[in-house]
Symmetry: C2
Subunit: 575 residues, 2 copies
């Protein structure tokens, strides 16, 4: 069975067709009553105030960073096994065994026995390849929150086919293995042919885009190429997908505008006939450099380096114009507080990607929020939202919903994971187990940021006439512009201002939406071997970056804007 | 002779009446030709590109911080004397002598001989009480820039009567004494009766306002009182004057709006009959906590503690409405890039206080820039701009020009000292001698900031039920709102969020103009003796404060928003 993402229609909001797909698998799922019992149990368990809707449909998150962080948080890979032992449970006898392989030291269970364990009361089991796992104690720690309970009583494989980053991470697989309680009997083990790869129709990508995760795809341009273009060529844009890429047909695509229960439907033709706006906008993922932040606390992750940022000229219709046509303006927007955007990409539950922005940003004529159908003068590519997407200047990339199918005015934020869980602001001492997601604000505008792109860390660099060439970018959200980039070669004792080579000269704070490319011919002692350089940017509000990650740490790995520091070597020089 | 500041008229822009006042003193000043020669010499000397207008009229600055910094910069109080010695000049033989007193070890000069030294070519001398000083080498280092040259060839007293902070500072007086070359003959010494105190008519101030400087007056509320009121009572507002307080009559006061050479005059009656706007706005001096920044590098200054911030409800006319009435709007403002505000308070040269803001802020209907005539429902007091002032929300306090008399649309920033010199953004390695004022951007929006007000540093604090009460404020410019304040008792290892007690709930980012008052019942080990607590705020753009001052240091002592850290003692407790 192959999953082809359909053109958007009402059905994707009402019936989770991906859940139905899962139901074709013999182990899955439970009855409604069982789900209800499970939910009631969990509500006590969590002692948190999530609505039943968010519990059931909030579903699978793609919080890549947070998941890996869990491993670090305990700082001992097998602390869970030890804990189980303390609690009198059967511990994982051999936590170093290869994940999912047969272990002769453990008992054998049937899929029927696994299926009996799908509530917290009775215990939650899952199977994976040849293994059976008791995830009961892990449920409240799962960064994807309740999504994991959907898999309880059955195999992990169909879920991990969709959220493939689990299988890409040795940490996650090893963590799973610490919960091992047995083997799945041979006859009940799944074959690859039992389900198809939802990522089989992904678009082709440039070889210069280095993947961070493949399923869903997230990748960034090799860092030294980033400052080569002020306007990033489309094929060099960073890609951050949360789900498989929809394959949409512009001729049949519609965007629904929902205001107070009334829907207005726009075809792509109608949208393209409306007055055009062209705006230069840089998008950056607020998870950019999250890996560095998490790494400082010991987590070894491959994902999300410093290049999750790109700049384009976008063409489309201003959201404020669309809203004005239905009587919603900056002066009069009734009780609406948020504008939600719904994508065509869907979770395994059938819940689509959805995010929202505050109403003030949507109705602000100078806010430049676009329904964009062109990027650098060409139709959008599939990876970047074909045939239409939102572009929300100055805000974290996640709000610029791709494959747009619906816009909803509401008094509430969207309830998608990217709004409710993944891109929220937490303090340094909050952990996934103590996070109060309802109280934590969603990240919208992003803070001031800068990165050294050339040389790269660990490069060998030639000194020419006593200097080395250093290049990079700087960016500040919220319409701020960079006023200065400072570089230091002596760990902050002295600072030299970089030259701001490229900025959008047609715009200024607070309506500047693009990055700054900077360079510096840095005087350097050629007899040095190992050099460390730091950079920091200052924006039009005189905000600057924090020096290190320690005090801005958050378990989500977002807004990781500490000084960028790199070490490299000088090529020995006899002249 | 007593100086009474007149109601504003054209004359204050054309004839520097304070300069005329100085001319009544026998030593002062030089002929126009002499001034011209002096200027020509200086232009070479500085190798900087200031216009003759700014050189002659830019005049006396009130850069309190920078001046003191000069002392620190050399890090040895008497390095100048040593330098003079090295250069073969007569050094100050006894640099520790009390400033301005007779020194029998030095030669005697007449006022005529002093008057001969008023050019850089011939050398610049001044007299002060019984002393004669050669300031030639100091001129290019004077933080008040060319202002000092106006005094050359004559006595310092009439200038220092206006810029009284010089005489309030032992550092400045000691610095002067390092340039001592002789004594002024008895007959030529000034008497107090030779000139009057321009500050004789200052308004009365609350005893709770602690002066930083008296002439001009700058003072802040005692810190522990600051979080007592979300709306600061007027008598508790911080005061930052740059010159003597004008004594204006609302019945005769006018505001001139100058657009493209055309002037429109508004009386106070006319302004008060226009549609009213009430806006809650916090103002903060961007020099707040400047003393801490400068202190980290060794300067001992008394001025500008952490309380140069207050919050009020302002009533007035929106600048955008006034501008709309003359056809200037957000959509159409021609080539105008800046809106200049001119006050009635004047430098000794007759040049009035003037500042500017970018046009986008002035025409933004949501920007809430006011011509305010009421503060907390009452007419403005003299200290706060009676009868009318600007209030520029989200921007540094200096832009909220008091005693407003003129608004000018221009393609240039205002050329007053507070725009051109005092509140500019420089990197950590720039010094007063290397600063490029033309290139450095003026500070408008201010960065995120927070301060612990209770307990105060060095307080003795009682632990109640294992906790201590901590209170403070946080503020972010540019319309940002505070989303979190973090407190640490273990130097950043762990952080606890404070409770945000008071915010303006009617407004949100990016149109929030008021501060946040926060509190925290901090768990504390009562057996500790010495406690250090840190606080930092995070705003709606996820920007936060830098941990220390080292990397944000600037010689102006502005935007000093490092974490606020205080040390105090616990009262021994036997329970």
């Amino acid at each position: 069975m192959k999953i082809i993402l359909k053109s958007p229609s009402q059905s994707i909001f009402s019936i989770p067709h991906r859940l139905q797909y899962c139901r074709t698998l013999s182990h899955f799922p439970k009855t409604k009553e069982e789900q209800k019992n499970q939910k009631s149990y969990k509500n006590n368990y969590y002692k948190e105030k999530f609505t039943s809707k968010s519990v059931l449909l909030g579903a699978a998150t793609t919080s890549l960073f947070a998941y890996y962080y869990l491993v670090k948080e305990k700082q001992q890979r097998y602390v869970y096994a030890a804990k189980e032992k303390e609690n009198g449970k059967s511990p994982s006898l051999n936590p170093c065994a290869k994940p999912g392989l047969w272990r002769s030291d453990l008992p054998i269970y049937t899929k029927g026995e696994v299926a009996e364990h799908h509530t917290l009361k009775k215990g939650m089991w899952i199977s994976y390849h040849e293994g059976v796992y008791d995830i009961t104690d892990f449920v409240h720690e799962h960064p994807g929150r309740d999504a994991v309970t959907l898999a309880a009583g059955g195999p992990a494989e169909p879920f991990w086919a969709m959220y493939g980053f689990h299988e890409e991470s040795p940490f996650i697989l090893q963590k799973l293995e610490t919960m091992r309680i047995g083997n799945l009997c041979k006859a009940d083990q799944l074959k690859v042919s039992d389900f198809d790869d939802p990522y089989i129709d992904e678009p082709k990508r440039s070889e210069d885009i280095i993947p961070a995760t493949k399923k869903p795809f997230a990748g960034t341009l090799r860092l030294d190429y980033l400052p080569l273009n002020f306007i990033t060529p489309v094929q060099w844009w960073y890609v951050r997908n949360h789900l498989p890429v929809p394959d949409l047909d512009a001729n049949n695509h519609q965007v629904i505008l929902e205001v107070g229960g009334t829907q207005r439907i726009f075809t792509m033709d109608e949208i393209q006939q409306m007055p055009k706006a062209c705006v230069m906008v840089t998008l950056m993922c607020s998870g950019n450099r999250g890996y560095e932040m998490l790494e400082t606390t010991g987590t070894k992750t491959k994902i999300w380096g410093p290049g999750a940022v790109s700049n384009a000229i976008w063409t489309g219709v201003k959201l404020c114009d669309l809203l004005e046509a239905v009587g919603i303006t900056a002066e009069n927007h009734g009780n609406y507080k948020h504008v939600q955007f719904v994508g065509t990409d869907c979770e395994i539950t059938g819940v689509p990607y959805s995010v929202s922005i505050p109403i003030w940003k949507a109705v602000d004529k100078k806010g430049d929020v676009l329904l964009a159908y062109q990027m650098n003068g060409e139709p959008l590519t599939r990876d970047h939202g074909y045939p239409i997407r939102m572009v929300v200047p100055g805000h974290t990339g996640a709000r610029s919903c791709k494959w747009l199918t619906k816009i909803i005015l509401s008094d509430k934020e969207a309830d998608g994971n990217s709004q409710m869980y993944d891109f929220k602001s937490f303090g340094p001492s909050v952990r996934s187990t103590t996070a109060d997601y309802e109280k934590a604000p969603s990240i919208q505008a992003v803070p001031v940021h800068s990165v050294i792109c050339r040389p790269k860390a660990r490069d060998s660099v030639q000194v020419v006439e006593g200097r080395i060439d250093v290049k990079g970018f700087a960016y500040a959200g919220g319409g701020n512009k960079i006023i200065r980039v400072d570089i230091s070669t002596d760990q902050g004792k002295t600072w030299q201002p970089a030259q701001l080579d490229f900025q959008d000269n047609k715009s200024d704070y607070p309506h500047n939406w693009s990055w700054t490319l900077w360079s510096c011919k840095l005087p350097i002692d050629k007899n040095q071997h190992d050099v460390e350089i730091w950079c920091k940017a200052i924006d039009t509000s005189s905000n600057t970056q924090p020096e290190g990650f320690e005090y801005i740490y958050n378990f989500k790995g977002v807004t990781a804007n500490a000084y960028h520091k790199i070490k490299f070597k000088l090529i020995p020089c006899n002249t």
